[in-house]
């Protein structure tokens, strides 16, 4: 059964509409993953509003969706109050914690709809919204195995893997990758940055890695500890893990489309220097990828 991945929001930190971001989009994090009848939604940034409109337009039967949150920073939850299918009777959405008793995301979603923040209360939503959980970090939903993995971000963050048959997609945004060792580069030759082995194993051989690559190397030097990564370090992670395709995600709000293009060029140049055949591209609103059974 093929897996479909569609980007609805690819921007980091804050929605950034306008001509400068028209190509890659200004909506914050939201990715739709479909496999058979199962709908998975990664994060509810402002991109989830358009996803909601599209789901209403294309779905005849009541909508059932499984929502996975990387973390509860604003740019990952702010779109939920505007997600129209959540206010339609008969629809059902499950919000997953990492383990039993972990209702943090459910509580934070309902909290952001308190009357001080939003006119409609969480309890007034007409869809059935259920707090669910992974069983110690994994769960089979239909034919899809969902697994979580801790990422390095202030306040904590989770990455998720979605596997069906031989196909595997990883969503790992808001992650400051720790570089364990790297040799200085010389004569234009890139030296691989060695990163956390457990992270390499989590993404090993995946068909698509959607990963935070918000900064350039230069930007990262002044933003250490902010919980995001240099795009070149993400490339090195993907190369070490023999990832097939890497989608650079969580674009910095100050980066215009032309700058994102430059970032991708630098990533491709590094892939070439490392002698890898990794495919790198910038996650872009409105693009849908298909991963067929091999």
């Amino acid at each position: 059964m093929p897996i479909y991945v569609k980007f609805w929001g690819t921007r980091g930190s804050i929605p950034t509409p306008g001509d400068r971001t028209r190509k890659y989009g200004g909506n914050t994090s939201c990715v739709e993953i479909r496999c058979g009848n199962h709908l998975f939604i990664c994060d509810a940034g402002s991109g989830i509003r358009e996803l909601g409109s599209d789901l209403v337009a294309r779905s005849k039967a009541p909508i059932v969706g499984h929502l996975f949150f990387s973390h509860a920073h604003w740019d990952h939850i702010q779109g939920f109050p505007f997600f129209a299918p959540a206010d339609t009777a008969g629809n059902r959405f499950l919000i997953y914690g990492a383990k039993q008793g972990d209702d943090r995301f459910y509580d934070l979603l309902s909290g952001q709809m308190k009357s001080d923040y939003f006119p409609i209360g969480f309890g007034a939503l007409r869809a059935e919204i259920i707090a669910d959980h992974l069983d110690d970090g994994s769960k089979k939903i239909g034919s899809v195995l969902v697994e979580s993995f801790p990422l390095n971000h202030p306040g904590g963050c989770l990455g998720y893997a979605f596997s069906s048959g031989a196909r595997k997609i990883v969503y790992a945004t808001d992650n400051e990758i720790e570089v364990l060792s790297s040799q200085p580069e010389s004569d234009g030759e890139a030296k691989l940055r060695i990163v956390q082995p457990a992270l390499v194993e989590f993404v090993r051989g995946v068909d698509l890695l959607i990963a935070d690559g918000q900064y350039t190397d230069l930007e990262y030097r002044s933003k250490k500890g902010w919980g995001h990564t240099s795009c070149l370090t993400v490339v090195d992670l993907a190369v070490q893990a023999a990832v097939k395709q890497l989608a650079i995600f969580h674009h910095d709000p100050s980066h215009a489309d032309s700058f994102v293009d430059e970032i991708i060029e630098s990533c491709r140049s590094r892939v070439k220097k490392l002698g890898s055949d990794l495919i790198v591209f910038a996650a872009r609103e409105g693009i849908e990828l298909e991963f067929r059974e091999q």
Binding site: I279, F281, E285, G286, I287, E288, L289
Partner: protein, 128 residues
């Protein structure tokens, strides 16, 4: 002289003038610009295809709205949907796939300057 006027024309009589005259004002409406594809490489290039219908099929089939005479292009290779100002492309389960700026996609909203490759046919997309 009586002349049939279009809905875009209005006549203004000027009885105050020494010699009675009338002025016909014609509203020159700008024709909406339509997005288009330019075939820049492959069989039949160069050629321009205006996207003037809500749904247009690109393929090898002579009945396709945009025909590409290449054995590597499927009969019905891709569907272009225009919901202006948004234009999108969707792979029609083709043999060789749809590539957007070098990346294989199932579907995509198109942006000015995008390069679309269907087998050996390469198009550039223009929003207007």
């Amino acid at each position: 002289m009586n002349k049939a006027r279009t809905s875009e024309e209005t006549e203004h009589r000027r009885p105050e003038a020494t010699i009675e005259t009338s002025v016909t004002v014609v509203r020159v409406g700008r024709r909406p610009k339509l997005p288009f594809l330019r075939l820049i490489e492959g069989p039949g290039a160069p050629k321009k295809f205006t996207l003037n219908q809500p749904e247009m099929i690109v393929g090898r089939d002579e009945k396709a709205h945009i025909t590409v005479p290449s054995a590597n292009v499927s009969r019905q290779h891709a569907l272009i949907k225009s919901r202006l100002p948004e234009v999108s492309i969707c792979d029609f389960d083709s043999r060789n796939g749809v590539f957007l700026n070098g990346i294989k996609v199932h579907s995509a909203v198109l942006r000015d300057g995008d390069i679309i490759q269907l087998a050996d046919a390469v198009f550039e997309f223009y929003e207007d």
